[in-house]
């Protein structure tokens, strides 16, 4: 399996097996991440999509096979909002600045003027510079997601990885996030994200990878969002409809439900 992409290769996974405590979660993964990529990893809970993201991040090491990264590759990561301690005593501005930490170097606690200007520029770009001094708890879901995107962009990444960026947010925020990511991709940032939201997120992305302990399929939504692939990925039968040129996935009605409506 090779993900689509024509730009220079950033990461290559070759015959990778990965998991935890000797339990293999992902088998036989062959994947190239390119500079121009904008990909969604979809699959059911426990299918290994987050493990695949962690392989790309380098948090999970392969049990077999190889993960090769472009030397000096700058990766930024946006975690799930649900995993964050929102009561932590920091402001939006401090949160963005912290990603300038470098573990191998001793640094003074305060930010330089250049660092401050850079952080404000990133916040401005994401439309939340006016919230710079606000404690992170006092943000809406969309603002929280923008803050983490700002923290990621502060590192000037070549590759941005996001774990379920639209999980637990409302429809309006989901649209915002999607447009924001599309803009970043336009600016040359490669993006890989996980999502379980087939209609709200995955169908809008240019490239998808379906995962269920191995890569089931990859390609454009038109190539991947098909009943046979979805059944193999999610273990459930689904119908795929066409609406304004978009693929829309609906659960296949079980027989007893059909009887009730007759």
């Amino acid at each position: 399996m090779t993900a689509t992409g024509v730009g220079p290769e950033l990461i290559r996974l070759s015959d990778v097996e990965a998991g935890y405590d000797h339990e293999v979660v992902l088998h036989d993964v062959n994947l190239h991440v390119h500079e121009d990529q904008f990909t969604g990893i979809v699959g059911p809970s426990g299918s290994g999509k987050t493990t695949l993201l962690r392989l790309l991040l380098g948090i999970v090491k392969p049990m077999a096979g190889a993960v090769q990264k472009q030397p000096g590759l700058r990766i930024a990561y946006v975690p799930q909002l649900e995993t964050v301690n929102w009561d932590f005593p920091i402001t939006v501005f401090e949160c963005v600045l912290m990603s300038g930490s470098r573990g191998r170097h001793f640094t003074v606690p305060w930010a330089s003027n250049a660092e401050k200007a850079n952080a404000h520029a990133v916040l401005e770009r994401l439309g939340i510079n006016t919230l710079a001094d606000r404690q992170i708890r006092n943000l809406s879901g969309g603002q929280q997601q923008r803050m983490f995107l700002a923290r990621a962009l502060y590192r000037k990444p070549q590759l941005l990885l996001l774990d379920e960026p639209t999980s637990g947010v409302d429809v309006s925020t989901r649209h915002d996030v999607l447009h924001l990511l599309a803009d970043l991709h336009e600016d040359g940032v490669a993006i890989v994200l996980t999502t379980h939201d087939l209609n709200g997120m995955a169908a809008h992305l240019p490239h998808l990878i379906c995962v269920n302990h191995r890569v089931i399929a990859d390609g454009t939504p038109a190539e991947v969002i098909r009943p046979a692939v979805l059944e193999q990925t999610f273990g459930a039968r689904m119908e795929v409809l066409e609406h304004l040129g978009m693929r829309v996935v609906v659960d296949e009605r079980p027989e007893h439900a059909m009887k009730w409506t007759q």
């Binding site: 998991g19 935890y20 339990e23 987050t50 948090i59 930024a76 930490s101 640094t107």
Partner: protein, 292 residues
């Protein structure tokens, strides 16, 4: 006024006051990182663990009991860190096994062989008597070391405390920072042990930080407030200890607890909520992370 000035005529009290104030400041300062990382139980466990080393080492080389206890504490801290990260045993269980066993060993050794250093009771509850110049120097050096560590590692410490996984991906050596923090914590507990006492050190790691969290929403100001509350508790606790003729550690902790009650009573619901969220820290993904 006389009540404040009268004890200052005694050198032992002046030394005790200095050590208590410095101890409160040091524990309040380091406690911010311990509390925000959800490591309060580690502080509690480590102080008990150090007691074991303290009792064991003095049997063989009484003049080096502080050094031995320090090494014992650091070894315990690193063992807890390693066991909880690399095995299926949770951090709480690792702390429970390693530190309580060490404490039990200390109690057994004290009971069987006695002590050539501080008495059993003083080691447990703290004392202002018999503070040596070496202890004052030791506490000063550890305090300066802790401040230097936090100063030069501030950003990496804050990042790895708030979001260890993203910090790791962003190039912060989270494991190394955690190990270094454990070493600083062990040294801080060791240096304050004689005045605060083994069983009460953990309270002084937690109380000032929790009070400070209710007072501010800024990490930097929380660090400052926690240090101030710790210092104040140490100084006032020493005076109360002197007049009430009870172990210094107990009074220092009780003054801290009183400050907590006052701030809690006057804090609004949102300020109280800040301290309620202190234990919802983010754990780094262990080797046995669940599959998603």
């Amino acid at each position: 006024m006389d009540a404040i000035l009268e004890p200052l005529r005694y050198t032992f009290f002046l030394e005790g006051l200095l050590v208590a104030g410095l101890s409160g400041a040091l524990l309040g300062f380091i406690g911010v990182f311990i509390v925000l990382r959800g490591m309060s139980y580690i502080g509690h466990g480590l102080s008990h663990s150090i007691f074991g080393g303290f009792a064991a080492v003095q049997l063989f080389a009484s003049q080096f009991y502080l050094l031995g206890a320090g090494l014992w504490g650091i070894a315990s801290a690193l063992a807890i860190n390693t066991v909880s990260r690399r095995s299926r045993l949770g951090a709480d269980a690792a702390i429970g096994v390693i530190t309580t066993a060490s404490f039990a060993l200390g109690v057994a050794l004290f009971a069987r062989f006695g002590s050539s250093g501080p008495s059993f009771e003083n080691a447990l509850f703290g004392s202002i008597l018999g503070i040596s110049t070496e202890q004052i120097i030791g506490l000063t050096v550890v305090s300066l070391f802790a401040v230097a560590f936090v100063f030069f590692r501030y950003r990496a410490l804050v990042f790895s405390t708030f979001d260890p996984e993203v910090a790791d991906v962003s190039g912060v050596r989270v494991n190394r920072i955690e190990a270094q923090l454990m070493v600083v914590l062990s040294l801080s507990i060791l240096a304050t042990l004689t005045v605060i006492g083994v069983t009460l050190v953990a309270a002084m790691l937690v109380i000032p930080a929790v009070v400070a969290r209710m007072l501010t929403d800024s990490f930097g100001r929380m660090l400052a407030w926690s240090t101030v509350v710790g210092t104040f508790s140490g100084l006032v606790g020493m005076y109360v200890s002197y007049y009430a003729d009870v172990p210094s550690g107990t009074m220092i902790v009780l003054v801290g607890a009183l400050i907590f009650v006052i701030v809690f009573a006057f804090a609004g619901r949102s300020r109280r909520r800040r301290s309620a969220g202190l234990d919802s820290h983010v754990e780094p993904v262990p080797a046995s992370a669940s599959v998603r």
